[in-house]
């Protein structure tokens, strides 16, 4: 789907209730109100900047993967920016997140160094992982990023453990565990949501329901219509929100994070979204719908949605938005140059970093 086709939210999707109903019957609480008063100009600016950085990071990852300069598996976050950017807006460096195989967006939004990230996916020595991890293993623990994770479901335990640590330290810090609709069918989802609930852990499970796990639809693989309703099995609040609408995501996430910081326990937030590209680069996507509501979702560009919103609500002007976009393009291009100029890892580095001593 070429980028110019992208639209802002279609009418049908403005009323979240309605559009979700068409998608699947919805029987969980849904956020519709978007509390403008919460959104300052600064907050909007940094959220939009993060969305642009993610989008531009991914567009460049796509380009250089196609050019053969980025090796391995690359899973792009484009189209889902509103989730990472909306949630992480509430976090500081010492709140933790766990990410997924589709992790670039989470890492950018959580403050991962753009140069270090780009160098990592190029496999260079100045990468955050010295070129030894690559796209699926970007991490920056000082920034609270416990790592992208190549194991679907690998983040649940890491996040739960980090939350146990925060609870023990009584430090008021929270953990956000990002995971996909497919990951919700892994047993460790069940084990960790149960543990988080019985111990009232300061953790937010943020589900990114983008309709598919690889080529397998969520409506086929999940016996529950929604991911959010599974929260009930853990006496945990479950909320479903329009993941293309950063204002809605930011709103719900804020409430859940507040609860967690106050020791009121975990929340499961399902963000419905859609990826702009394939499961990974090279995916022909024959499974994607060519018409109907799924197609509508596919065509929504969360950046356009937010641009429209900020302008309508007088938070930012088109000029300001364009300026951020241009700056972001420059920053990402700089990251690409940084990556390209970075040397490949030294042969000795193969044998290093196995053990701490």
């Amino acid at each position: 789907m070429a980028k110019e086709e992208n639209k802002a939210m279609p009418e049908s999707m403005k009323d979240v209730e309605a559009s979700f109903k068409e998608l699947v019957d919805l029987d969980v609480k849904t956020s519709t109100e978007t509390r403008v008063e919460d959104l300052t100009k600064d907050a909007s600016t940094s959220m939009y900047k993060n969305m642009e950085n993610i989008r531009n990071f991914e567009e460049n990852a796509k380009r250089y993967f196609a050019a053969g300069e980025i090796p391995g598996f690359v899973h792009l976050y484009a189209g889902e920016e509103a989730i990472a950017a909306g949630v992480c807006a509430h976090l500081s460096d010492d709140d933790f997140i766990t990410s997924t195989h589709r992790g670039h967006g989470h890492c950018v939004a959580k403050g991962g160094d753009l140069n270090g990230m780009m160098a990592e996916i190029f496999g260079r020595s100045d990468g955050l992982g010295k070129g030894k991890g690559g796209s699926m293993h970007i991490a920056d623990i000082d920034k609270g990023i416990l790592g992208a994770n190549g194991m679907v479901g690998g983040g649940f335990g890491l996040a739960t453990g980090a939350a146990m640590r925060n609870k023990y330290k009584k430090n008021g810090k929270v953990v956000v565990c990002f995971f996909g609709d497919g990951a919700a069918n892994e047993g460790v989802f069940h084990e960790c949501l149960n543990m988080a609930a019985i111990w009232d852990l300061p953790i937010i499970f943020v589900n990114e329901n983008n309709f598919y796990a690889e080529a397998t639809p969520q409506w086929y693989a999940s016996a529950s219509n929604t991911i959010a309703e599974r929260a009930a099995a853990y006496s945990m609040p479950g909320v479903r929100v329009n993941g293309k609408d950063i204002v809605a995501v930011h709103d719900i996430a804020g409430k859940a994070i507040e609860r967690a910081r106050n020791g009121e326990g975990p929340t499961l937030i399902e963000c419905v979204t859609y990826r702009m590209y394939g499961h990974f680069e090279g995916d022909e996507q024959s499974y994607k719908a060519q018409s109907g509501e799924e197609k509508e979702w596919a065509e929504v560009d969360p950046l356009d949605v937010f641009r429209e919103y900020t302008i309508e609500n007088g938070l930012m002007t088109e000029e300001e938005l364009d300026e951020i976009r241009e700056q972001s393009k420059k920053d990402i291009e700089a990251a690409v140059s940084y990556a390209k100029e970075s040397p490949e890892p030294s042969p000795e580095s193969l044998y290093k970093d196995v053990f701490a001593d």
């Binding site: 070129g131 892994e186 580095s349």
Partner: protein, 343 residues
């Protein structure tokens, strides 16, 4: 009739012929068809992926979704379900997409499939073939590039097959599916595009038999899977120094073919084992220890194991290439045991 086929097509052909022959053969795994319940695909009886690398493409359209089952992301659930299917009379062929995912489903093999027959006093049969994928070489990094067939091989009650050629892949797959036991069939993802002669007809290659891929007099090189080609390459090179190398493709790593290997070592007196697994407690060291024990008096020098280093698999291309055992490393090790032979 027979002709050149891709390694992945040889596997696909074996699965097809096994399913054709026996309606109890059922495939299951993640996106082995793909697009389940997607209306525009269902209408045209189309799959979407046919496996992450297309190895099972075409089988769902031919046999239907009741025999080519896309599972949810639930490795423990569907792998142990496969054990239940096998214990009740089917011949499931579950796919564990990457062998690295065994961390999510190990009990199906370690706790259940491998022990049921024994614990039940011989009253159960578990005819199950687990297709999985190992190996570095495509920058898939530490969680998608491991070679863990040696871990499976350490488990009593499990047979492990690692084919190197399209011909062996088809024949071994058909034997595996005919087996009334648990067989781990581990495919090297970097071999899928390799070509070789593969008869169109149904044929089997006995599990447990190694194959002498090249005969020689002075040095035996035992290889596992893709390492066969490193071994053959080394043999070519050493031939120039008048060192004649026998290359044995192990094919089955558990139980591995002690007779063929020991017979060869008794002839050559020298052994190198090439195994892409990490260096400790692996198949190479197992072979070295058994051969030292059973053929000690025939050995003219130490047995050399050339394996991956004791590190996870790195992402960067240059490091990953350094990680995989290669000709240079083998030649270095060889020097120590054949220096006396070189003219």
């Amino acid at each position: 009739m027979s002709n050149d086929k891709l390694f992945m097509n040889a596997i696909n052909e074996a699965l097809d012929q096994a399913m054709e022959k026996d309606e109890n053969v059922i495939l299951l795994g993640e996106d082995i068809a793909g697009g389940a319940d997607v209306s525009h695909l269902e209408e045209e009886n189309k799959e979407s992926w046919g496996g992450v690398f297309g190895v099972t493409a075409g089988l769902m359209p031919k046999y239907g979704r009741e025999r080519v089952i896309d599972t949810p992301l639930s490795e423990m659930g569907y792998m142990s379900s496969a054990v239940g299917m096998a214990a009740t009379g089917l011949r499931p062929v579950p796919e564990l997409m990457f062998n690295d995912f065994i961390g999510f489903s190990f009990d199906a093999i370690l706790g259940q499939a491998s022990k049921m027959r024994y614990m039940f006093g011989g009253k159960a049969k578990i005819p199950m073939t687990v297709r999985t994928m190992h190996g570095a070489g495509v920058n898939a990094a530490a969680q998608h590039s491991g070679s863990y067939y040696g871990i499976f091989g350490s488990i009593p009650g499990v047979k492990v097959v690692v084919p190197a050629t399209p011909y062996d892949a088809k024949g071994l797959m058909l034997s595996a599916i005919e087996e009334d036991n648990v067989v781990i069939f581990s495919e090297d993802k970097t071999l899928y595009g390799s070509k070789g002669d593969v008869p169109d007809d149904y044929y089997t290659i006995p599990i447990g038999e190694a194959d002498v891929k090249r005969e020689g007099e002075h040095l035996t090189i035992v290889t596992i899977g893709k390492m066969l080609f490193v071994g053959l390459d080394v043999a070519e090179t050493l031939e120039k120094d008048n060192v004649s190398v026998e290359v044995i493709d192990l094919r089955t790593v558990a139980p591995w073919d002690q007779e063929t290997v020991i017979q060869s070592v008794k002839k050559t007196g020298r052994l190198i084992v090439i195994d892409e697994a990490n260096p400790h407690n692996n198949t190479a060291t197992d072979i070295a220890s058994v051969v030292t024990d059973r053929a000690f008096d025939y050995l003219d020098g130490p047995i050399k194991c050339v394996c991956a280093p004791n590190t996870p698999v790195p992402f960067a291309t240059n490091l990953e290439q350094l990680y995989i055992p290669n000709k240079e490393k083998v030649l270095n090790e060889a020097d120590e045991i054949i220096f006396d032979l070189k003219a």
